[in-house]
């Protein structure tokens, strides 16, 4: 590994009983990179992200985040995690939620909090209890909570689910700005047009990392016109591999 590798896993396995949720994933993500984790539902994306954070113990294999061996509680103060469902305190206001998660990571910076809330366009609702917000607004609050402590590494589990196309574009331009400033992002998704915006992609299926590379490389490998076709071909190839 090089000093630029922010995320590094080696032969990572996670079994839940008979289910092999993550099956030998070796991954490295460089500083300032947006790494797209693609794959159908149940392919192991969320399990992989939870393993990276130390929320699950791997059955075997090793993980390093920001140069530290995991699990390591202290390093989590520099990591932002956005869960698939917007996990928020319903009774608290948007701002109180953001402030709480910033404090949990040991950093509370009022100016930065305002900036984050503005980014997700919630400045008008910042005093509203989360209970009163619609699904899309919750998702935005959730992103604000993830960014509240200026993390160096972001693990975003389907961050744009339930977000309208306009705001999705805003999210992605912000992700790019973060990456340019040296923040590393791992974004899981099953939306292909989002995949095009990532620096590098990993395609997961049944816990295995089937293909890796830039969008162009992946299309070229399978001689496909679109990413979607390429992935369907990878998936089909993976299926043949399974049946052998």
């Amino acid at each position: 590994m090089t000093s630029d590798d922010v995320v590094q896993t080696n032969e990572l396995h996670k079994r839940f009983g008979p289910i092999h949720a993550v099956d030998g994933v070796t991954l490295s993500v460089r500083r300032g990179e947006i790494y797209g984790l693609l794959g159908p539902n149940g392919s192991g994306k969320t399990t992989l992200i939870r393993l990276l954070l130390g929320l699950l113990r791997p059955t075997s294999g090793s993980i390093r985040l920001l140069g530290e061996d995991m699990p390591n509680k202290a390093i989590l103060g520099q990591v932002g995690y956005m869960t698939q469902t917007s996990a928020l305190y319903e009774e608290l206001s948007v701002r109180e939620n953001v402030a709480f998660f910033a404090e949990m990571c040991g950093r509370k910076d009022r100016v930065w909090m305002d900036e984050v809330i503005e980014l997700v366009e919630l400045q008008d609702r910042s005093r509203s209890p989360v209970r009163t917000l619609s699904g899309g607004l919750r998702q935005r609050t959730s992103l604000a909570c993830t960014l509240a402590h200026r993390p160096r590494l972001l693990l975003l589990d389907e961050p744009t689910v339930g977000v309208d196309p306009q705001l999705r574009a805003t999210f992605w331009s912000y992700f790019r700005r973060l990456a340019d400033s040296g923040v590393t992002l791992i974004v899981s998704s099953h939306v292909m047009d989002e995949a095009e915006r990532c620096d590098r992609l990993g395609f997961m299926r049944q816990g295995k990392l089937l293909a890796e590379g830039t969008a162009a490389e992946i299309r070229r490998q399978k001689g496909a016109g679109t990413l979607e076709e390429a992935f369907l071909q990878f998936a089909a190839a993976g299926l043949e591999g399974d049946s052998r």
Partner: protein, 387 residues
């Protein structure tokens, strides 16, 4: 109304319960456990009451009937039933024996007890009662009076007693009971006796449920997952909850104390500050118990099921209704496992006996120990979700 829809709804409800095995088991088993406990408790004959006897009676010797010692006769009569176990005491040891709970009451027969009776046709029984439980005080007084009556009646057969007993005027009893109290007194009623325990129980019950639900929601709304992905440790989380909910527990405790003391006008001795400390400790124990219990629940519905499993046994065995000393021996260890038991003892000692920190500290120390153990257990139980 649409009968098909109603049936579909019913079917769905049945399916939901069937899929929740634990609920199913608890619905059936929960009430049985409680009924069983109640049956044991109600069917347990109250343990014999330890009764101290100071017998200084010299009796009287007559040429006809030989020696008669009335004090001894009454003592023998008291010992004959299952109600009392007698403990012979010296006059000096009366209060100390009452204080350390080795006897519940002491009956004192002075030197001239028999002589006096023969002169006045009146047996004056001096009874010193522990006094903190008014119901028990009354029961002891009544039992002692009856035993005395029976032994006097048996005298009627002897030459000695024949005349005075039969000639006693109608409606006047030959026995008067002169009761004094170590703690409490006649002005203490049953509510005064149970109030300390109820206060403690309520102080724990509500925060237990509050903590249980609050912690459960942390998991169900997914924020526990998010919290787990921050540097916050399990112990941080448990302690944070303890302090946060503990604050409301204290407010509640203050309200309960204020109401019982000033509005319900409960008699109490001892310091109010100390009472507050005891209930506050129990309430904090309640919070940690709630956090621990929530680890075993997946839904708020299952939390409600903890009431029969966690709360009822505490209420039944912790000394709320039955004194722990009256429980069958195999149930007593359970009482010692319950924080409520120690809080009850401390509360009663303060409110009814006027004891201070110097006397009740062992109970408080045990409560602190419970809290510490519960914090550790709660943190360990969280391991499953917070790596």
């Amino acid at each position: 109304m649409n009968s098909r829809r109603i049936l579909s709804l019913a079917r769905r409800v049945i399916l939901q319960v069937l899929h929740d095995r634990r609920t199913l088991v608890l619905i059936v088993v929960g009430p049985l456990i409680i009924l069983n406990l109640l049956a044991i408790l109600f069917r347990t004959a109250p343990a014999a009451i330890p009764l101290g006897v100071v017998n200084e009676d010299l009796g009287i010797t007559s040429p006809v009937g030989g020696t008669i010692n009335l004090g001894q006769r009454i003592a023998d009569e008291l010992a004959a039933g299952d109600t009392f176990t007698l403990v012979a005491l010296d006059r000096e040891a009366v209060d100390s024996s009452l204080r350390d709970d080795s006897v519940q009451a002491v009956i004192v027969f002075p030197e001239d007890f028999t002589t006096h009776f023969l002169q006045d046709r009146q047996a004056v029984l001096e009874v010193r009662l522990e006094g903190s439980d008014p119901t028990r005080s009354q029961a002891i007084s009544a039992q002692v009076t009856q035993a005395a009556m029976r032994s006097l009646a048996s005298l009627a057969g002897t030459a000695m007693g024949a005349s005075p007993i039969t000639q006693a005027g109608e409606g006047t009893l030959p026995v008067t009971l002169h009761a004094t109290y170590l703690f409490g007194g006649q002005e203490f009623d049953a509510m005064d006796y149970v109030a300390p325990v109820y206060i403690a129980f309520l102080g724990m019950f509500f925060v237990f449920l509050l903590a249980c639900v609050a912690f459960l929601r942390e998991r169900s709304q997914g924020t526990m997952e998010r919290l787990a992905a921050t540097p916050a440790t399990r112990t941080d989380i448990v302690l944070g909850y303890m302090i946060g909910l503990g604050l409301f527990a204290l407010i509640q405790v203050a309200a309960i104390l204020f109401y019982t003391v000033w509005v319900l006008k409960i008699h109490y001795l001892g310091s109010l500050g100390l009472l507050f400390l005891v209930i506050a400790l129990l309430a904090v124990a309640g919070v940690t118990m709630g956090i621990l219990a929530s680890a075993f629940a997946r839904t708020e519905f299952q939390v409600i099921q903890f009431i029969p499993l966690v709360i009822f046994p505490q209420a039944l065995l912790g000394g709320l209704f039955w004194p722990v000393s009256d429980l069958p021996a195999y149930l007593q260890p359970f009482a010692y496992l319950m924080p409520l038991y120690y809080a009850n003892r401390a509360m009663r000692d303060v409110m009814l006996k006027g004891w201070g920190l110097a006397e009740i500290w062992p109970n408080l120390a045990i409560l602190v120990g419970f809290i510490a153990a519960l914090i550790v257990l709660s943190a360990l139980m969280m391991r499953r979700e917070v790596a």
